[in-house]
Subunit: 336 residues, 2 copies
DNA sequence: AGACATCACTGAAACGTTTCGGAAGGGCTC
DNA sequence: GAGCCCTTCCGAAACGTTTCAGTGATGTCT
């Protein structure tokens, strides 16, 4: 590995001079610059970011912690973050928590050891103890995506979850549906509760009874949500529409429908939160409430970079993004 | 930030002793150990991986460079790599090339600057100049996934691409199909050519003419592959089956079919390389040739870690994984 | 009891940068 | 031509670790 010292020697100048021309941190004579650049070229010198980080105290690296990179929602986040990092000259450290708060804490410690300048976090835990631990571990600037955390002061970019499910239910009711089931997320997740609240609110505003029986609890994962859907299909009278509250849920719902011989939308209307590429590839094309996930992520990234640059200070603020309904073929009007 | 020095002072021992305790790199008295651990606990000390890396010359970080993290195939790779890293105490640096060889080279330089110990690479370029540049940039151990590179000596884990498409075509022919179209990848990609070769070989072995007209070129992306499919559907006589050569292609194919009013499998049989969660969620459930992507990735990771540990030496070897056919509902026998 | 290993720990050098006080030299003012 | 200010470059300290030669103290063997 060739170092600054090698370059300096080869160019016949001091180490400090090489550093200043490489970072152009001070005016230098054209002659010096030429000599140094030539030496760099000839030796194929590549700066050592590790040494640089040690000296400067900043690593020009940020961390991204997501629950499941395999979920298209989060891989979209990762993609957008990577683009932002590339544009700002940052490197990106990725961690996948598999929805485990314990792993998330471990990851946060890893980030801390690695001296990342900041992290983008999609938290997967909840509760006071968890937040307390998070606070201890997160010594660097953090911006949250998707979920906020009670008692944790940080910037956050979230969806208007209530509006998302509200919008779906409102649409379904206007289309004539009265018995509307929902496959909700676990009670431990704030977004699941918000989405359920939106469902409930829409029913109320349309003067439709909220029926406990029509709420099935899933886990935002295909298998559990498949089972949740099955239980929903067993209700009598059967719902005429089902709202799915995530893209993974959508998979479980559609599988359950198909396996039990229900046609969509003829026998059952389905609408889901989350839009994905494959939502329009198959039959039926899914009616969805799309999250502006890329925009949300870009916002989060610029937020974080603002913090790092010091142009953004003060307590964390939360940005709420609005979802957009895309009516396609998986829902149909109910007549009579 | 509390340092080793702080801990040493607080415990009343030398810096070196703290280091040896923390890394237990030499036997120490229980008393010393206790004192140090206590001080660490009280100060909430977290080791600085940056300084450690500088001193040791290894960063305990590996890089992952993929063409598109948004593609479920690559997000599965990322997930598996992350698990392997976690298990081995490595951090993971992620880069997304968006299929651009230029970006890939930039990423490789980033990795080099960051002093990653090794990288897992899914190369997106081809050609002599590209390989030459790659060689200059890749000074650390590299293991390739999905694609090998002519003239680039590295470990690699690849699919038996020929067998994948061969298997699909063979199955279709045995089911009675004779006019089988294919949406292939770009000619610049070796895997695309291999998959096409498997298609061709299967036809030959069944004594079916290879017809240029039935080969449409896509780009392993939904939009271009949608158009490629459309062109295929315009052929006369029309093919009775289409083989899709990637999961993104599958999306394009199914969209095109739906948009033009073709039912699958009644009007057209479709089978694709790549299995994905949503392949069984909708109608029809897709017949696919599944890649053992997680196993392949695990193999690649252990390969890399073996190189890093020095337990694996010598020239690179390439492992070839076998795909598995999963017959589902998107293909049907052709009678008469 | 003296010589000598063994053991536990200390102290300082080194990793490759950045940064800053300071030296050398040139040009300007008076 | 003396003094001064810029401009340009040099040299060394420092960042937080690891590592290793070295120092005492303790135990062992003859």
């Amino acid at each position: 590995m060739t170092t600054l010292r090698d370059v300096a020697r080869h160019a016949g100048v001091s180490i400090g001079s090489v550093s200043t021309v490489l970072n152009n941190t001070a005016p230098v004579s054209p002659a010096l610059k030429a000599k140094v650049l030539k030496a760099v070229e000839e030796l194929g010198y590549v700066p050592d970011a590790v040494a640089r980080s040690l000296k400067t105290g900043r690593s020009r690296t940020i961390g991204l912690i997501v629950p499941d990179i395999t979920n298209p929602h989060f891989s979209a986040v990762a993609s957008a973050i990577e683009i932002a990092c590339d544009a700002s000259g940052y490197a990106l450290l990725l961690c996948n928590t598999t929805d485990s708060p314990a792993k998330e804490l471990r990851d946060l410690h890893l980030m801390r050891r690695q001296r990342v300048d900041g992290v983008i976090l999609v938290p997967s835990g909840s509760g006071e103890a968890y937040v307390a631990e998070l606070k201890r571990a997160a010594t660097m600037p953090v911006v949250l995506i998707d979920r906020t955390l009670e008692g944790f002061d940080a910037d956050a970019v979230v969806l208007d979850n209530r509006a998302a499910s509200y919008g779906i239910v409102d649409y379904l009711v206007r289309a004539g549906h009265r018995r509307i089931g929902i496959v909700a997320g676990p009670t431990s997740m704030s977004i699941a509760e918000e989405r359920l609240a939106g469902y409930r609110q829409a029913l109320e505003e349309h003067a439709i009874d909220y029926i406990e029986d029509l709420v099935a609890r899933g886990a935002y994962q295909p298998e559990p949500d498949y089972r949740a859907t099955a239980s929903l299909l067993a209700r009598r009278p059967r719902p005429t529409a089902i709202v799915s509250t995530s893209n993974h849920t959508m998979i479980g719902v559609m599988k359950a429908l198909a396996d039990q011989g229900f046609r969509c939308p003829e026998d059952m209307s389905v609408a889901s939160i989350d839009d994905v590429v494959w939502a329009t590839a198959f039959s039926p094309k899914m009616t969805v409430m799309a999250q502006p996930i890329v925009e949300m992520t870009e916002l989060a990234a610029s937020r974080l970079f603002g913090r790092l640059a010091g142009t953004m200070t003060g307590p964390g603020t939360v940005l709420v993004a609005q979802p957009a309904l895309k009516v396609r073929d998986s829902t149909r009007p109910l007549t009579g």
